[in-house]
Point group: C2
Chain length 528, copies 2
């Protein structure tokens, strides 16, 4: 596929007048062709207007055609072949195996959402039949369904050039809801973005949809992002990135005449709790798993375990020693960008500067540029409680082991944590009482609790929550991974006393889409 270096606005390749940007190979710091031209405000406006124009037809697609659209995006991404993997690896420094896995996840996600579109549970259909003889007043027939919010702005993430970018979770869930999408490409992987953007635009053509259903725009820094979120045509925002970036978008969205929801997934240190029983088993293996979870993808994962609580005493010492040994053999991997590597270094130095924090283990720098040596620090609960810098995410391969005395200390420390995406507990049967005391505290802090596992590796399913209280995300009521993510882009509408002819299809007595419904408060299944 030829890379044009242009934005894709409602099916057209559009050159921008505001200068250009280039991809960079972070392993070598070399610039990558082609240049990507940056659009101006009027060009952005043409994208949001096209999305508005596309909304009525796209939001009322029959489920089968709607589902086929998502599947066709998946097929078109697959059809790009190795070119996508090579370009993504060159632009991001991520390994080809990791990227093949990420592609499989991206495609699988689109196909899962297609299944969900066919089933239609997210339409949330409710029917309260008329009660004409009710006293003192009759009840009218009232029916409810969820409808899509309108055009959605999606911001590509640096660390998932496929699964959280142009056709990633935010885009897939917004399209599944029936919302046109405008993606702001991440400038760290512009070529990958264009390849995937072309695949989505081709699917729009393949299904003969309104071209405004999808646009991919390149613009300068944060200004295009702010303009996009401020545009009255945009009705919701999906973002994965830094706390500063997410917070800036939230401010803009809240200041609009019509405020809109911003779903920003921002920062998390993903605490892990090693309870005493877990150290009666294979401590070497546990330490190895921890190091793998910290260092995978150079630690550039939202769910990277940045904080591990380990008991004081001999067993905990053995765990820390095993971690030190395991990480010492670990070579740094290329980080996504020079800026991210510089920011990691800064975070590493900030933690190292804290009194009574020890560097208990470190790997080696990798052979490429921007591949710092992964690090594990150690400290205790008092130091952790009194140094806010130890509560901040270091994006990359660094983690902190905090030693604790008893479960009361853990509960106290947990109650003072900020909101997180995940918490993980390593336990055996003897720890269940302590775990049972901790879990209610954890539930109030996180979106997902894991027993005897590590937080990295986020399953895309129906029961996944990739979310959590602020500052992990901007809106704890949702998830950005899994099929529940569709609900972010919907709102309910009631239809009172409608004749069958005027009811939307899923609300008709005939139920032509065979959707499940809540009838007078009782669930009714209508599927094969």
């Amino acid at each position: 596929m030829t890379l044009t270096g242009y934005s894709l606005i409602a099916g057209a390749h559009v050159a921008g007048p505001n200068g250009s940007t280039f991809g960079t190979n972070p392993a070598t710091n070399e610039t990558l062709e082609p240049p990507y031209t940056l659009i101006n405000d009027e060009q952005l406006k043409s994208a949001t207007e096209a999305a508005t124009d596309a909304f009525e037809s796209f939001s009322t697609l029959e489920p089968e055609r709607h589902a086929r659209f998502l599947e066709t995006i998946a097929e078109n991404i697959e059809a790009i072949g190795e070119e996508l993997i090579v370009r993504a690896s060159t632009e991001t420094g991520l390994g080809v195996e990791r990227l093949r896995g990420e592609r499989a996840r991206t495609i699988g996600q689109l196909r899962l959402f297609a299944d969900v579109v066919r089933k239609g549970d997210f339409l949330g259909v409710r029917v309260d039949p008329a009660l004409p003889d009710r006293a003192p007043l009759p009840r009218a027939d009232i029916r409810l369904r969820q409808i899509p919010l309108g055009p959605v702005a999606v911001f590509g993430a640096s660390n998932f050039p496929l699964a959280f970018s142009v056709a990633g979770g935010d885009t897939a869930s917004a399209l599944a809801a029936g919302c046109p999408v405008i993606v702001k490409a991440h400038n760290a992987h512009p070529g990958t973005a264009e390849l995937v953007g072309q695949a989505v635009a081709k699917a729009v053509r393949d299904l003969d949809l309104h071209p405004g259903v999808f646009s991919l725009v390149y613009g300068s820094g944060s200004s295009i992002g702010q303009a996009l979120v401020a545009d009255p045509a945009i009705k919701a925002v999906g973002f994965t990135g830094s706390r500063a970036g997410g917070t800036a978008l939230m401010r803009t969205a809240a200041a609009r005449l019509e405020p809109i929801p911003v779903y920003a997934e921002m920062s998390s240190i993903n605490p892990v709790y090693v309870l005493p029983g877990a150290l009666t088993g294979d401590v070497e293996a546990l330490a190895g798993q921890y190091v793998t979870s910290v260092t995978g993808s150079s630690g550039q994962l939202c769910t990277s375990p940045g904080l591990v609580f380990v008991p004081v005493g001999e067993a905990g010492d053995r765990f820390a020693d095993a971690v030190a040994r395991s990480i010492s053999g670990n070579a740094g991997q290329t980080m996504l960008t020079q800026d991210i590597a510089a920011s990691w270094e800064q975070g590493f130095n900030s933690v190292r500067a804290v009194a009574d924090v020890d560097l208990i283990g470190r790997g080696q720098a990798g052979p490429t540029a921007n591949a710092p040596a992964p690090a594990v620090f150690g400290s205790n609960l008092d130091v952790f409680a009194n140094n806010h810098v130890l509560h901040e995410e270091i994006f990359g391969a660094a983690s902190l082991i905090v030693r604790y005395k008893n479960v009361e200390d853990l509960i106290d420390a947990t109650s003072k944590l900020e909101g997180q995406l995940t918490a993980s507990l390593h336990v055996t049967g003897e720890d269940y009482a302590a775990a049972a005391a901790l879990i209610p505290v954890l539930e109030r802090k996180v979106g997902r609790v894991i027993i005897n596992g590590w937080p990295t590796g986020v399953e895309v399913g129906h029961a996944m929550v990739h979310g959590g209280p602020s500052p992990a995300t901007s809106d704890s009521r949702t998830t950005s991974v899994g099929t529940l993510a569709i609900d972010r882009f919907l709102r309910p509408v009631s239809y009172q006393n409608f004749p069958e002819e005027l009811l939307p299809a899923p609300l008709r007595d005939a139920n032509p889409w065979k959707v499940n419904r809540l009838v007078d408060g009782h669930a009714e299944i209508h599927q094969d």
Copy 2:
């Protein structure tokens, strides 16, 4: 029941040091005893701290006890008897029949929510079973449920002293979700608030719950409200009132370190579309229904029809004439407060001052104080389009008939409306094609579309949406009436690889609460 004039903080009567306020009889402008003392910030803090303390035990109640709590509130409100109706009528000027109906709705709502708590559908349980043999990677067992957000602040509404106040829809849905509630009493009906507050506090005692589950506070003006919304202990806000009031709370909530959702129901003019076929029937009856809907409760209803589109021509003229006749016999009813009556007068004068707006019908002033004569204005689409004041809600018995030529004009005018709670269509079979063209435009503007009915009279059921795009509400993704309102106070949490012993009850294989579940994407019914 003795009125103390005190706040009710976690079960205790608390006198405030910040002066006092009195209820007023708006029919006579007389002050009502007792004085209500106003609390200070530390006293407010004691309420929010008690709510935080109550959260863990209240959020994990067994469904049966949880449901009984809601039912006991209903019983305790019923047990107050006529004293409640008399006090509410004296404080608000609303008639006793209207208030008996509102009490029935308030009690019925609590009982409906109790049923929903027993069924547990809102827990949204999802189970993705483990796939240990999946290639390339196994899948862990992952389960999801919705948990309550935490303590909720509720602001009593002036116009529904029972159904949208101390134990109204916001309180009932937050309590049903498992959230402790702190109600800021509306100072226009302090005695009614105390009577209901005592009934709720007694239910807390009757069920032996943590007293922090409920507090009712009296404070000065907006400052106590701002302090409540800014308090880190508060995790969500329910508000029904003015656009200025709601917007101020939204700003405070968005500026917090941890932003929280504000569910504010603010303003709506509830457009009604009379299509030509509807004027081939009994025009007198239709006009009478319109006047009844405009003047009921002195027009002080969120869903009062403030705007009616009527075709130009002879049939439309007959409708307008019939409206003028009908309203001329209509006497003004006492409004809720002197301020509200003054604000109505101001709105009336603003509309009257618009060139090419006619006063086409007017009733008489009522016999009491604060009972202005209801009014219906008339104009055309051009004037409506060019005068924003005609798009603003006049809270009270006033409405505007706008004459139109064809459905294209209607679609154009509708697309320029702000967000609304409702839209109503009056049609016969011959209008279905026009209605089918209008409905998709209306869906994007409103939360409820009504055919051949009037918007006032909001059914409390499973399929009701009392919500809509900004500025009708602050968050179009929700409803403040009906059982779907519970979802406002919930967020999802995933449990990965949990042993049966550590899983919360509704997620256990044994499913002791018999909740419906989505298993691997398929709905499973578990109820009798």
